[in-house]
Symmetry: C2
Subunit: 159 residues, 2 copies
């Protein structure tokens, strides 16, 4: 197995392409989505700053209403295989949660793109803390929008 | 700038948590989404195998209709800041495309979860080649589903 693993999946090294500017200094400044006041995230705004050497890669993004931001959960503690989500009574498999305590500390947020100013993207829907390293930015397309979804243990409240 | 970068964003090392089993052996076996026959991807099925040491992290995922798979574009060539998408006439900023040739070769697919059998997930909507290293699996939730989207240069054809 170990040999297969090395063959299939050599370790991957990533670098930040930008950084998040956010009003939230600490993870505890952000409510879990299931417990956020109504419209909390719609009103939550900030800026994604892309480093100068990657600025050109942002061209044409202004035509998209939403972007997918992949980021490093840089404040996550050690990885867990199970965790008790906020408001839940029992542990859930980490791949069925959006917890930061993942085997690979990769996070994903779909944000509304309000404005591009050079290498700065003003966004809403922000659920990221200040200083979060940005690893990738992708356009949100019709293929990312799924209808008739089931959301398991999240039900209505946690969705 | 270099000092700031090192402070904000130390390099991140990732490891595969699983691997894709797919009927597509080569990237050229997959049509670009804009040129796929109707319902091509709905009928495109395969399996995500999670390695034994991460199997427990899959618990509770069977309640979700869709999963987000983050993967390594392990066959991507060198990174580009701009690329001409299939069927397009001019280069676009790479962050406004889903091209594999990204500064960090991270890919994202939203797949329909058909069945979980232990540490194997049967999926449809598959647009990944055989042997793709899987880095993370997340549940697709209502917060990932955006309405009234604009998709820039993709327009109707490329969405």
């Amino acid at each position: 197995m170990a040999d297969l693993r090395r063959k299939i999946a050599p370790r991957l090294r990533l670098r930040a392409v930008g950084v998040v500017h956010s009003p939230y200094a600490e993870p505890s400044d952000l409510p879990p989505p299931a417990f956020a006041p109504p419209r909390f995230f719609e009103r939550s705004v900030g800026t994604i700053e892309v480093f100068p050497e990657f600025a050109e890669a942002l061209d044409d993004i202004e035509g998209f209403s939403h972007i997918i931001v992949l980021f490093h959960f840089h404040r996550a503690g050690r990885a867990k295989l199970k965790a008790v989500p906020p408001g839940q009574s029992r542990p859930r498999g980490i791949f069925s949660t959006r917890s930061p305590h993942r085997p690979n500390p990769l996070g994903l947020s779909v944000l509304r793109l309000l404005r591009r100013d050079g290498r700065r993207l003003d966004v809403s829907g922000l659920d990221l803390i200040d200083g979060t390293p940005v690893l990738d930015i992708k356009p949100y397309t019709a293929r990312d929008r799924k209808t008739r979804i089931r959301t398991g243990w999240l039900r209505k409240k946690g969705a």
